[in-house]
Symmetry: C2
């Protein structure tokens, strides 16, 4: 990596940490690589959970909970899987004052333990499909950690399903990828590319991995979620079989899929400015903060009552609000706090405004202020404004991605594009893994995915590696990534 | 313990396991003492979370998340705490392929790590009160485990708060105890005694522990939740200080409080019969199961449509329902499944019923069936029936407890009462710890609490140990416990 690239990386990391700390989303903990998720950060996670959990249930899944400890021998049953995860495992060797006869690893993901249970529960086609999900903490011991983006312990959901046919498993894999796309685009206002990973980038143990790839405002790509068609790999390792309707014994076809607290990292690096975080209204824990101008050691009854009335009015209209009625904290301090936290709208109520039937509305995403907004019909007005803000934050992210996507025809063009403007390089590829080695060694970049949204004509556009065009070539997105 | 008592214990345990497995609430896992919470059990946990989480937020708390790994040295900072928890800890000694320089324990509870963060976040009285809660998994390595009641890993919520005064901390401790009481009595239909624990039974590190004690149908008491006034114990160990409004440095006053998946154990052992679980409607994941009588290889369109219409009608009325439209499973099998799962009402729709505008309603708690319930107004009728079932399940539990509470005046009377009828022995006590030793050694019993609901006259009723009456004596509830 060039010095410039390294510098940019350091800057990006300090932006991430700076915003996360100042917005009180998270804090460093005394445990290596582990963070504390503070109430405001956790409230965002709860909002993500609320939205996604509904999608997961609406698509026919049930939640369950499996042990966090996994016998070390389980991990070893699937060859690729152990190779992928063993180096990152944290290991419990002692418990209850004694050394354990078999060591346990803290789950880095739960395919193994869940397959053990599947093989106990599934007997016949009548038991299929079995579609489970769990919300849980997982541990992957990382050398280099960053708040939200890569922490030794993180929170996630992991779905695990069993099906009678490969087609059904494939359909499930894509259905969940689509749920993730909706979550990211409609709620987080983060545009993503869906697509398949290359063999070298797929999940350890999967037949195929599908990803949602986002672009952060520092020009780096982020794998924001993945959905795997596991084929029969784990089923064979764990003997997860069923009797089909022809009375024959078969291995089940499986999927797994997950998103994590990394999504909060996607929000931070997707939407921010020099002041701090900018939250899309759909995902903001509170969309409007109501701040009455209070005076220390004076009677604030009237203005507080007015603020409460307005606050109730907004909530009744379905707007998520917070009323900040603290007298011990100055107004300037409050303004600053909510700007750093990215609250979409600040509604300020002063004594004079009240008399005149007017309110001050501050819009966080463009830091604009309007002083004379009529008090009457404020809820309807703010509802419309929130919808507009959501739309504009989304459009800015789309525009940024368009400006940071370069169509390239050679390795040299990839290099240039990665440095400036940064972001994605869109290319054709003949599938030769030599390209992935070059990208990794020379540019610290990877093929993020073979995108579903295609723009190039394979018969015309040459492979970046061979320079030859062919309808066998595949379209790829290349980027430096988190 | 007598042979009889041991036999009863084994029977009770097999009842617990039998119901939990057959109702598909949980299953054994290959990890010692850890269970898998299956979808139906997890749905009950989600319902508990939904209710309690609202209470926790309505009383001014915020959710957060702290690391699961705790440096071993943290546990040792509070003397009583380490003594209480060190023997039960699971220890991570290796991670990322290397031996760790400092070992981590898997949180048995989080006072230590949270206090470390509190001391970083709290500076002045303006930061107080700080009232946090987390929903998390914890690990306590137990010798003898039982599904839901005592597992090596379990799910719970743990609240942790800091206050400027002792009085405020005490108020908080009792407020949360009261939330737990509401959860247990109003929703789980499990009557409980609130009360203070004796010094020997309190939480390791607390100044005082308050408990909710329930009575199970095997005559054993269950500590279903606790709320601790921690005083300044952890604050002193972790230097959690604040500048008060007189500009003086003080240690904060703290509380912590928690309930766990053990509550599902309370449901099982609180409400069951020979057939299986009996769920109170308020906590049931689905209150009504709608079963259309389907015929294999025949056209079931009409009856399925009718079932869907009725199901939607019930849901629109706010009733939680499940429509079981599986054709591959026989009707008898379905009836059996939902009876074992304790679903409060089974609504059966047969072709003839449809013609006649009538439905079959089966009530799980008393296993009664009515065939000719009018189709019209079914939602209103079932709403009323659900309320009635809730009330009657509650009353049966109250009656059971009344019948299994004996007022005693001597140690001999305690022994007799514990064997028959079993349950609680209510007594007076002069506070001499010798009693606790006798109870433990001779009867495997403990003082469950000094109940808030008092029935005895201290000046008249003698201490079970000394035989003397005194207004200094305290009222106690003694029982064998889970």
């Amino acid at each position: 990596m060039s010095t410039k690239a390294k510098e940019e990386q350091n800057t990006a990391e300090s932006i991430l940490a700076d915003i996360a700390i100042k917005a009180q989303l998270a804090d460093y903990s005394p445990i290596k690589g582990c963070m504390v998720i503070r109430p405001y950060g956790y409230a965002i996670w709860e909002r993500i959970k609320e939205i996604l959990n509904k999608m997961i249930k609406d698509t026919g899944h049930e939640n369950a909970y499996f042990p966090m400890l996994i016998p070390e021998s389980f991990l070893q049953k699937e060859a690729e899987h152990v190779e992928g995860f063993a180096p990152e495992c944290a290991v419990v060797t002692h418990a209850g004052g004694k050394e354990l006869t078999e060591k346990y690893v803290l789950r880095p993901t739960s395919e193994t333990i869940i397959n053990h249970m599947f093989s106990k529960w599934i007997e016949s086609y009548r038991d299929l499909p079995m579609k489970l999900n769990q919300w849980a903490n997982v541990v992957r011991w990382e050398m280099r950690t960053r708040l939200f983006m890569r922490t030794s312990e993180f929170l996630w959901q992991e779905g695990h399903t069993c099906h009678a046919t490969w087609d059904e498993a494939q359909q499930e894999t894509l259905t969940m990828l689509d749920c993730y796309k909706t979550l990211l685009e409609k709620y987080l206002a983060v545009p993503i590319h869906t697509g398949k990973k290359t063999q070298s980038e797929k999940f350890a143990g999967a037949e195929a991995t599908y990803t949602i790839e986002a672009l952060m405002r520092d020009g780096k790509a982020l794998q924001a979620g993945t959905s795997h068609n596991l084929g029969q790999n784990f089923a064979k390792a764990f003997e997860t079989q069923f009797t089909n309707d022809q009375n024959q014994l078969e291995y089940v076809y499986q999927t797994s899929w997950g998103v994590s607290t990394r999504l909060i990292g996607a929000l931070i690096m997707g939407h921010h400015d020099d002041v701090g975080l900018i939250l899309p209204p759909e995902i903001a824990p509170y969309q409007v903060v109501v701040i009455p101008i209070l005076k220390k050691n004076k009677d604030n009854t009237e203005i507080l009552e007015a603020a409460k009335t307005i606050n109730n009015e907004l909530q009744a209209a379905g707007i998520r609000t917070k009323l900040d009625d603290r007298v011990t904290i100055s107004q300037g301090h409050k303004f600053n706090e909510y700007e750093q936290k990215g609250v979409p709208i600040r509604l300020v109520i002063g004594p004079r405004d009240l008399e005149e039937g007017k309110l001050e509305v501050h819009r966080r995403d463009i830091q604009s202020k309007e002083k004379d907004i009529p008090r009457d019909g404020i809820a309807t007005r703010l509802q419309k404004l929130l919808a507009q803000i959501q739309k504009e934050i989304w459009q800015r992210a789309v525009d940024y991605r368009t400006e940071h996507t370069t169509i390239v025809k050679s390795i040299e063009e990839i290099e240039t594009a990665l440095d400036k403007p940064g972001g994605f390089a869109r290319a054709m590829w003949n599938g030769d893994v030599a390209l992935e080695k070059i990208l990794k060694d020379k540019f610290k970049a990877t093929i993020r995915c073979m995108p579903d949204d295609k723009e190039l004509d394979a018969s015309q556009h040459p492979c970046v590696l061979s320079g030859e065009s062919s309808t066998n070539n595949v379209e790829i997105l290349v980027a430096r990534a988190y």
